[in-house]
């Protein structure tokens, strides 16, 4: 297994207080890592540290390193814009940009300089297919993205990130507002996609992690309490907090 991310002694401070403390973790390529934990445990902050989206807030500070393919993404010479092109993100609320379906998907690639219409059309079909939504929208690509149902919108957002041909996909509770069928479709898509991508999935639904993730990490109050293969975490957790969370004692 090739290692994609190495997180070493990583701290994240917001307004002076530590939101993430001493995170040490390795994430493998071609795998889905599930990140579970109660609200406020730092899961989303951790996720957003991987594509440096946290810096959009004011008064933030980091310590430690996050290496992607051996390079520290917080290094001095790192171009954040190109970093983000390699790492795609799907947010908790489906947020289609207020444009047509087609425009949504080509938004990122166009900004990267792809202008050839044939190339863009091909990208659109490929991405929407990988997101399990091509058949539903192929005849109405000009329709506004806002007109789709919640589940369709979220798959559109997934397609949008895939169109960038990233190396990593980050998902922040992507099915939290969705019905079971849409959730299943997204999970199916992820299972197929992991072959080509590194996927990190934050979820507050432990059963989803159990279904889909290869490895799972449990976060609590800003610290990573435990990580391991999904089957090990769910059947034989090493730490008491992990066990309590999984069995529903809290959270």
């Amino acid at each position: 297994m090739r290692i994609k991310f190495q997180i070493k002694n990583f701290y994240f401070f917001y307004n002076g207080s530590p939101v993430l403390k001493d995170i040490n973790l390795e994430i493998n390529a071609g795998e889905i890592l599930g990140v579970i934990g109660p609200a406020g445990s730092g899961k989303t902050t951790f996720l957003r540290s991987l594509n440096r989206m946290n810096e959009l807030e004011t008064d933030t500070r980091t310590e430690g390193t996050i290496l992607m393919d051996g390079q520290n993404i917080y290094g001095k010479d790192v171009d954040v814009v190109s970093l983000r092109k390699k790492i795609g993100m799907v947010f908790a609320m489906p947020v289609p940009l207020p444009m047509s379906i087609y425009e949504n998907v080509v938004y990122g690639p166009r900004l990267s300089g792809i202008k050839n219409k044939a190339e863009l059309d091909h990208l659109v079909e490929k991405s929407l297919t990988e997101a399990f939504i091509w058949d539903e929208v192929k005849d109405r690509l000009k329709l506004s993205g806002l007109r789709l149902s919640g589940g369709q919108q979220q798959r559109l957002c997934l397609a949008r990130t895939l169109a960038m041909r990233p190396e990593v996909i980050l998902l922040d509770e992507p099915s939290s507002g969705l019905d079971p069928i849409s959730t299943a479709k997204i999970e199916d898509a992820l299972t197929l996609l992991k072959k080509e991508y590194t996927i990190i999935l934050v979820t507050n639904n432990t059963k989803q992690a159990a279904r889909v993730a290869d490895r799972t990490a449990f976060f609590l109050m800003g610290e990573m309490v435990e990580e391991g293969t999904t089957s090990q975490i769910f059947t034989a957790p090493r730490k008491k907090e992990t066990h309590d969370y999984i069995t529903g004692r809290f959270g």
Partner: protein, 278 residues
């Protein structure tokens, strides 16, 4: 003695409804009064010929030119200035005391009487910068007068764009300026356009600031330094000097229709945009 609440309710409805009817009657009366006396005067000839005898007879063509040129030039200057200032303040700066002071300042300036802008324009543009009574002086004064409003409405429109859109754009690898161009401005456009159109409407009806900076020449302007008269100024002079009741009404009618058209266009554009966004 306690009055049955249902009776006070009835009384209240009657009073409130009465007030509404009264207000609507007043406002309708104003428009109808002007149009009824003015529209008969307005015909193609009235709109396209020059005034004779200082406006006692003839048409109002030069004033129409003036009414178009001044607001258009003013907004050509003020809109880019205002919109980009709003974008800078909202997207490229952190919220701090300085930005709060600037916002308070622009709010105040948006409320300053136009006569003060007229005073400023007269002393600064007409006299100190020696532009004389001219289109230049008039437009610059109007531009400066509507600038605070444009900054304010544009900033509100930009801030109203949901934060998530920015995050999505950034997460797809867009830079700050690309996000502004492709996501924020298109979404803020209805609000911005409304602010611009309202400012145009205000400029068209403006008299105090215009008469002291653009003057009141009845000649058709040939250069930016010529003086020019707008319909509002023309109307005011005709009425005050008692030159021609008839033409005054005609000018007023044309003026009101122009203003109504501009404002209705603004609403129409707003609604079109909102509908298109889905």
């Amino acid at each position: 003695m306690r009055i049955d609440p249902r009776h006070t309710q009835k009384a209240a409805v009657a009073i409130l409804a009465g007030a509404t009817v009264l207000v609507l009657l007043i406002l309708v009366f104003i428009i109808v009064f002007i149009l009824e006396k003015g529209l008969p005067v307005v015909n193609l000839q009235f709109l396209t010929t020059n005034p004779q005898e200082m406006g006692r007879s003839g048409g109002i063509f030069p004033t129409i030119i003036g009414t178009i040129i001044l607001p258009v030039v003013a907004l050509l200057i003020a809109t880019p200035l205002g919109v980009f200032t709003a974008v800078y303040l909202s997207e490229y700066t952190r919220e701090n005391t300085l930005t709060r002071i600037i916002r308070f300042g622009t709010d105040c300036l948006a409320g300053i009487p136009s006569i003060i802008f007229g005073l400023f324009g007269y002393i600064f543009f007409v006299i100190t910068l020696q532009m004389g009574w001219s289109i230049m002086a008039g437009s610059l004064t109007l531009a400066v007068m509507v600038l605070p409003t444009i900054i304010r409405t544009s900033e509100e429109a930009v801030r109203a764009v949901p934060k998530v859109y920015r995050e999505v754009s950034f997460s797809l690898g867009a830079s700050g300026w690309q996000t502004v161009r492709k996501v924020i401005l298109p979404n803020a456009l209805p609000g911005i356009v409304t602010g611009v159109m309202l400012s145009i409407g205000r400029s068209i009806g403006e008299t105090a600031a215009v008469i002291f900076t653009a003057g009141s020449s009845l000649r058709i302007p040939t250069s930016a330094f010529d003086s020019v008269r707008t319909m509002a100024v023309h109307f005011y002079l005709l009425a005050r000097e008692g030159i021609s009741q008839e033409n005054a009404y005609g000018t007023a009618a044309t003026l009101i229709i122009a203003v109504l058209i501009v404002n209705l266009t603004a609403y129409w554009i707003m609604n079109r945009f909102i509908a298109r966004r889905g």
